[in-house]
């Protein structure tokens, strides 16, 4: 507490209870919350914690949906939200250096006047911090073309469990000097060290975008279209699938004129040079026609594009309003397995008598089943948990992965062994023990 002063320390129960949660259901109280503003302060906190063997859990804006910043072993929550300066924007060398508390959306607004952007765009981007994005290796809608957070982290400054400050990587896109340790920290969920500075790659904003909304009468046609389009050499920024249940739920509440009988629809967006976008749009239209598209809409202007995006954007809210709670998942399968996975999810939902809509980033196989639920209804909640376990098993059988972009945290750690061998998990714990022998950094995660 002495390191950051009283006005940046919280110790009263009422205040502490606001740092016991993220967007996942589980809660656990910290004993103290500290808001450092400098690397030196973070290092001093870590040194003290290490001397007294106190658990330290990092936190950004707390929008993770896997419980990653929930301090399950109590101790100190180190909240980086006030460490929020953009230290350098260098578009000539195509990088930006930020403190971990910088909000993703604020970074975008700082880059836009230079004609640049930072591609990872998680749904929480107007709230979530870069530190949190890196710790969870966040994805987003445009990942299909641009890749995930790890693809943009060039380097970082980290406070280790001992309190020592180290730097990995550099300002260079090409860098094979030593192990790529900044990559190891992407998705490490605060279990290996506390990031105090991140060097990010930034890229020029595309000249133009085109958006298409295509509906299909058969689910297989949507998947075939996705693989045909990608196979033809076009890489859209986004290819979003909405299943029949999702479209009907949206129609029930918003009345956007979505076809209720269609099996699924695809929202496709391409960006780049104007002429290239036009050629790609034509090619996409040919491909979806070959795959029996029932309806095709193309939007060129921003308001038209927003109109097409409305259905996709409103999906979460629509499902959230159907019941007291909403649960969402993010298993991921190879693109060609998307229809099989959608059908598996629908069968599981039916078997457990659950309402379940499927949204998917179809271009990268990242599935988002949405389940309106009620955690107070023990029977219903039990069926939800059972259904999710079966969804994980189905994804594993299709060669998929447990989490595409939400992270493991406490939400998914029980299922890790469905997807990783004992030896692979063991290798992770070897690394963890080497860098954090006293298990002080976000203990209780990945385990």
């Amino acid at each position: 507490m002495d390191t950051v002063g009283k006005d940046r320390s919280l110790y009263r129960t009422e205040e502490l209870s606001c740092y016991a949660y993220d967007a996942f259901v589980a809660e656990s109280m910290p004993d103290l919350v500290l808001f450092p503003k400098t690397t030196e302060e973070v290092s001093a906190i870590m040194k003290t914690a290490s001397r007294h063997k106190v658990p330290i859990t990092g936190r950004g804006a707390g929008t993770s949906i896997c419980g990653a910043p929930v301090p399950v072993k109590h101790g100190v929550v180190v909240c980086f939200s006030k460490m929020d300066s953009i230290l350098e924007v260098n578009t000539r060398d195509r990088y930006a250096i930020v403190q971990p508390g910088v909000v993703n959306g604020d970074l975008q607004r700082a880059l836009a006047p230079f004609g640049f952007f930072y591609p990872p765009d998680p749904g929480s981007m107007e709230v979530s911090t870069i530190g949190g994005n890196v710790a969870l290796n966040a994805g987003g809608l445009r990942c299909l073309k641009y890749g995930v957070t790890a693809d943009y982290v060039l380097g970082m400054e980290v406070v280790l469990a001992s309190g020592k400050v180290v730097r990995f990587g550099s300002r260079n896109v090409k860098d094979v000097t030593g192990y790529r340790l900044s990559g190891l920290f992407c998705g490490s969920e605060g279990t290996l060290g506390l990031m105090t500075e991140v060097i990010l790659k930034v890229v020029p904003l595309p000249e133009t975008t085109r958006t298409l909304m295509v509906t299909f009468n058969h689910l297989d046609d949507t998947a075939k279209s996705v693989s045909d389009i990608i196979g033809s050499g076009i890489l859209p920024t986004a290819m979003e699938l909405l299943d029949k249940m999702t479209m009907n739920a949206i129609e029930d509440s918003a009345n956007l004129g979505l076809p209720r009988d269609a099996a699924g629809s695809l929202l496709i967006e391409v960006d780049g040079i104007k002429e290239a976008c036009e050629r790609e749009t034509e090619k996409i239209i040919r491909k979806v026609r070959d795959n029996h598209a029932a309806d095709i809409q193309v939007a060129e202007t921003k308001p038209e594009q927003d109109r097409l995006w409305t259905a996709r954007r409103s999906a979460y809210g629509v499902f959230a309003k159907l019941a007291p709670d909403i649960v969402t998942e993010d298993v991921t399968v190879p693109v060609s397995k998307v229809p099989e996975m959608v059908r598996a999810i629908e069968a599981i939902a039916k078997r457990h008598d659950l309402t379940m809509g499927v949204l998917a980033h179809a271009g990268d196989g990242n599935m988002h089943p949405l389940v309106p639920a009620d955690r107070k209804d023990v029977d219903h909640w039990g069926r939800v948990e059972l259904a999710f376990k079966e969804i994980f098993e189905a994804a594993a059988a299709l060669g998929g992965t447990l989490s595409g972009e939400h992270g493991i945290g406490i939400a998914k750690s029980p299922y890790l062994d469905l997807f990783m061998s004992r030896d692979s998990i063991e290798f992770m714990s070897v690394i963890k023990k080497a860098v954090d022998p006293d298990n002080l950094l976000n203990p209780g995660k990945f385990a």
Binding site: I65, V127, K321, D374
Partner: protein
């Protein structure tokens, strides 16, 4: 499954991006999500009532932005209001806030207080007024109090100055009545110039929303009953308000209080249906105004009050009005819709947070090069005008005052 009315906060955290207080402090415990969590903990008896709890729940502008963007459709606003009432009952409120509520509850008390304040200001040396602050605002930048209240200065009914088109009822609110009679006079000037007979019922009083924000439901009840009597029920001419907060009370809040305060639901619904905000009303009838060719050329920017957009609802139409007003060079500020940090008494209770917000607003309004800054909320007006740099030539006025200036003398 429980019915959908029992919605839980999904803790997605999207409300943090909408919350002006969170944006300044970057503290979860000052966010809408945390307030919901604390209220839930209090209701389920996992957290006892305490002054700390009261402070955390009250460190809020009541701007309604969180509720407006919540994907789960949670009514933060209503939950916060109820909790503020319970906390005020359990722990009381600051003395100054309690006396404000005491004054607002009775018209004559407000009149007396305004008189005392006016004399008090006359007696204070101006050097003292420059140095002292109330909340984030230097004393000498508070509005001058008029000698007579606006409603006392006019008859109850004012005839139109041209062929009569119809009649309207004007609900003035406390601010226009006691602080900004210029707004009241301008509103009457514009409406009568359009051909409307303006009735300003004497029986009207405080809309009661400020009392409700501070948990004084009982005192609020008397004022609400008085207003219902003064405005009549479903039958009658359109009721016009010049303040978004008063408008929110008449249009939304009274309806939610029918059961608690035993209000006549038919009269309350009737009044809600008759209420319009003055700006869209005037915009709709703008062609009924004849501007002289000599209308001044003025550079104008605007500020949208939170209660206009997120409370009263709908577009504020100020931008459209400015674009169509002769002689006006409208210069929008990029952050015109951001909160100014006024928030009723928030600027007084949390001056440091409020100051950060308003300084940003002032900087970007001044960057537009405008001479006039219009806003249709009295608290925003006090807060914005109070934080302009000492020598700033910019004036903050109600949009109707701008129209009256452009209309010239009758």
């Amino acid at each position: 499954m429980s019915p959908t009315t029992l919605k839980n906060c999904g803790r997605c955290g999207l409300c943090l991006s909408a919350c002006p207080v969170y944006k300044v402090l970057k503290e979860e415990h000052a966010s809408p999500r945390a307030r919901l969590k604390l209220i839930q903990a209090y209701k389920t008896k996992t957290l006892p009532t305490s002054p700390v709890l009261q402070e955390l729940v009250s460190k809020c502008l009541m701007c309604g932005r969180c509720a407006a963007m919540c994907p789960s459709g949670i009514n933060h606003y209503g939950k916060f209001m109820e909790m503020r009432r319970e906390m005020a009952e359990a722990h009381g409120d600051k003395v100054e806030i309690r006396s404000l509520v005491f004054m607002l509850a009775r018209e004559y008390r407000l009149r007396a207080a305004a008189g005392v304040a006016r004399i008090g200001r006359g007696l204070l040396p101006s050097s003292f007024q420059k140095k002292s602050r109330l909340g984030n605002i230097p004393l000498d930048r508070f509005p001058e109090l008029p000698k007579t209240s606006f409603r006392e200065s006019l008859p109850e009914e004012i005839p139109p100055v041209r062929a009569e088109r119809g009649a309207v009822v004007y609900f003035t609110g406390c601010a226009t009545n006691f602080l900004f009679s210029d707004t009241g006079n301008a509103t009457v000037r514009v409406l009568t110039a359009m051909g409307y007979r303006v009735r300003i019922p004497k029986g009207q009083t405080c809309c009661a929303l400020p009392m409700l924000f501070h948990g004084a439901a009982d005192q609020a009840g008397n004022s609400i009953q008085a207003n219902i009597r003064a405005l009549g029920g479903a039958e009658g001419d359109p009721i016009l308000v010049d303040c978004a907060t008063c408008g929110t009370a008449l249009k939304k809040e009274y309806r939610l209080l029918c059961d608690t305060l035993h209000l006549d639901p038919e009269a309350v619904e009737g009044i809600a249906a008759r209420v319009s905000h003055i700006t869209p009303f005037v915009l709709e009838h703008l062609d009924e105004l004849e501007f002289p060719d000599t209308a001044k050329s003025l550079k104008v920017t605007s500020h949208t009050p939170c209660h206009r957009k997120h409370g009263f609802g709908g577009e504020d139409m100020v931008a459209q009005l400015l674009k169509q007003t002769p002689g006006v060079d409208y210069r929008p500020a990029p952050d015109a819709e951001e909160c100014c940090g006024g928030g009723g008494t928030f600027f007084y209770e949390y001056p440091e947070i409020s100051k950060k917000m308003v300084d940003k607003k002032v900087a970007s309004a001044q960057a537009t090069g405008a001479d006039i800054w219009v806003t249709d909320c009295p608290v925003c007006r006090i807060n914005l005008a109070g934080n302009l740099e000492g020598e700033s030539p910019m004036r903050v006025i109600h949009p109707l005052e701008l129209l009256a200036i452009q209309l010239g003398r009758p």
